[in-house]
């Protein structure tokens, strides 16, 4: 028979077990401190992510280091600024803490009022860069490429600048503008033409004289990849091409550069840009100092493609 004291002991014991259970299995008594995971959405200007492979590697690296949950979002249609602004709005409503945006149109998209921090990858120098800005000066990139081309191609050789019919982003426009400024200054003949394989590679090239050559300048990586692929299949057109230049560092572009089908490209360190943009967003969220960063621009040809510094830049290892 259990005495009165024994009963109380049992009750106390059960109560103790209950408290222990509540402490261990629930957060009703002890609340574990929640580590804030920032939700950051990255919205690019393109409808494909092929050109962002190194950028994503850098972004993922930063996401792990800064405990960030990053969503990478492409547009439904390329270079549609209205759509990009809608997606910015949607992500804000869906609870994103910050956005990283590669603006389709820098004036329009960067002018959009948002209640959450937005880190822009600015394609040109602007008066008020804003917190955590990453600047990639595409006009300077165009100038750099044009200057390098000036050193390599004959003075009487015209340049055909190929523009995108699917829509021109701010980056494309500024890149073209920079190159055009250099060519105009040097008095080179330049034709700006909408990229269409049939018109450019068949109609226009067949009108050229037997030994007449032109140099092709692609305003974006998609056109550069396509032209390079088509020239490989079209030896007649390739005979009239004295050089193919552009920007971008996708694997097909680098393979074409290595095989000599592309003469020269301008690139940026996309891994670092991806990493720094996520870091800048976190710094803005934590109200830490965030210094605007200007990305370096490099000109690469086949002969320096295998240099260790460029290999690290083009084929980054996380």
């Amino acid at each position: 028979m259990i005495g009165k004291g024994g009963r109380w002991l049992i009750i106390l014991y059960v109560a103790f077990l209950t408290v222990l259970f509540l402490m261990c299995s629930t957060d009703l008594i002890i609340r574990e401190p929640e580590r804030k995971i920032y939700q950051i959405a990255v919205i690019i200007e393109d409808n494909r992510s092929d050109n962002y492979s190194n950028f994503r590697k850098g972004m993922d690296q930063a996401a792990k280091e800064f405990n960030v949950d990053v969503h990478f979002i492409t547009l439904y249609d390329k270079a549609d600024s209205g759509q990009q602004m809608e997606l910015m709005e949607r992500e804000q409503q869906d609870g994103a803490d910050a956005l990283i945006v590669v603006p389709v149109d820098e004036e329009l998209v960067m002018g959009k009022a948002m209640t959450i921090p937005v880190v822009f990858l600015q394609p040109k120098i602007m008066e008020n860069p804003g917190d955590g800005t990453i600047l990639i000066d595409y006009e300077r990139m165009g100038k750099l490429l044009a200057n390098e081309m000036q050193n390599e191609i004959p003075t009487d050789c015209p340049v055909w600048m190929l523009t995108d019919t699917a829509g021109q982003s701010g980056m494309d426009r500024l890149f073209l503008k920079g190159a055009d400024a250099v060519f105009s200054e040097k008095g080179r003949t330049v034709f700006v033409t909408a990229w269409d394989p049939e018109t450019v590679l068949r109609t226009a090239m067949s009108a050229l004289g037997e030994n007449e050559k032109v140099v092709l300048f692609a305003e974006n990586p998609e056109i550069l990849t396509e032209v390079s692929g088509l020239l490989a299949e079209n030896p007649i057109a390739a005979e009239h091409v004295g050089g193919l230049y552009g920007r971008g560092n996708t694997v097909p572009i680098l393979n074409s550069l290595d095989s000599g089908r592309i003469s020269g490209i301008c690139v940026t360190d996309d891994f670092s840009i991806g990493y720094l943009s996520v870091r800048a967003a976190v710094q803005v969220l934590e109200r830490a100092d965030s210094i605007p960063v200007t990305a370096d621009i490099y000109y690469i040809e086949k002969k320096n493609l295998r240099e260790p510094d460029y290999e690290k830049l083009l084929f980054p290892i996380e």
Binding site: R7, T18, F21, T26, E233
Partner: protein
């Protein structure tokens, strides 16, 4: 009421209270989902076929998002050929509340860790391209597989040569000695498709009446660079002998093309599998004789449709009928270069 009974009643009340308090935490209102999150882990992000497929997955997800107004977020990670990295990625996906996982498993014999974690968290898994062993697939009803039938692929690859040989024997038997001398580029040994493709493509050639002789073969692990290195070596070891290169995939076939171009050898036929973008380019410019291409639209479409149905708890999509309630096999077709161009 006796004191003993009171005590037991008190104990029962306390236990009930605990249960109520614990369950209170997880009780939520069931609402219709307006956004989905899909965690995708790739065995290797530099595999051309997987990259092509991944681009299509993004497109299909956007298509679904646009048509149905449900936001679909794809979280794509590269496991870099490491099962441990992939296991950590799965843990991260689960901790980030992914609704469904799409896994291109690194080691098909070692999918159990992923399945355990997914089962514990109640997150359905769609494996693709690399098929886990049947034992693992049967562990849970929320496991699916999307891929191509490896035997069908190999038979189609063999059939492509058989048909060509029947119509134009001189295209296949380049030196006209009555025997087609071939080399075989194989994928990694741990992949189920590699063994089946190797065995059945040659078997189909023999069954189809093509007189074949194997010169040599080697494992190039699906990689272009390794395929190129092997071919370079074989061209030195067996000069003017190789008439046909049978490759388990397009990337290795492209590697063989690279080696042939370097050695300036032109009279060798090369056949691949996958129909990758680069493979199709090689087919168009005549350096690749033919390839077997999976219907990648259907392949990616099935993965996204299954993932969405699982995440929303809806009936599985009727457009993509499952075999045994678990497997979806994408259709395949032979793509061949024009003989006239090739001659």
């Amino acid at each position: 009421m006796s004191t003993g009974r009171k005590l037991r009643l008190l104990l029962l009340l306390i236990v009930c209270m605990c249960m109520v308090l614990t369950s209170c935490q997880s009780v939520g209102k069931e609402e219709k989902k307006t956004s989905l999150r899909i965690g995708i882990s790739l065995y290797r992000g530099d595999d051309t076929f997987i990259t092509n497929l991944c681009n299509l997955l993004e497109e299909k997800a956007k298509e679904y998002e646009r048509e149905n107004g449900i936001k679909v977020t794809l979280d794509i990670q590269d496991a870099k050929g490491s099962q441990n990295i992939q296991n950590s990625q799965v843990e991260r996906f689960i901790s980030l509340n992914c609704d469904v996982l799409c896994i291109n498993v690194v080691d098909r014999m070692d999918a159990s860790v992923i399945i355990d974690r997914a089962m514990t968290a109640g997150v359905p898994v769609i494996f693709f391209n690399r098929q886990p062993v049947e034992e693992d697939m049967n562990r849970w009803e929320q496991l699916y597989y999307v891929g191509v039938d490896a035997k069908e692929t190999a038979v189609l690859q063999g059939k492509m040569v058989v048909d060509l040989y029947k119509e134009h024997p001189e295209v296949i038997d380049r030196n006209g000695d009555g025997v087609v001398s071939y080399v075989m580029l194989e994928g990694e040994t741990s992949h189920q498709d590699s063994l089946i493709r190797t065995e059945w493509s040659v078997q189909t050639l023999k069954d189809g009446g093509v007189p074949v002789e194997k010169i040599t073969g080697g494992i190039a692990n699906w990689e272009r660079s390794q395929g190129s290195a092997l071919m370079e070596q074989w061209l030195l070891e067996y000069p003017d002998t190789i008439e046909l290169v049978i490759s388990n995939n397009d990337d290795m076939a492209l590697g063989a093309i690279d080696a042939l171009e370097r050695a300036q050898v032109t009279d060798v036929n090369i056949i691949g599998i996958d129909g990758t973008t680069q493979g199709l380019e090689a087919l168009a410019n005549g350096s690749l004789l033919g390839t077997v291409s999976a219907n990648k639209e259907a392949y990616a479409g099935a993965i996204v449709a299954l993932a969405v149905s699982c995440a929303l708890g809806e009936a599985l999509p009727a457009d993509y009928p499952l075999v045994d309630g678990k497997y979806y096999w994408a259709s395949q077709e032979i793509l061949i270069n024009q003989i006239e161009e090739n001659q």
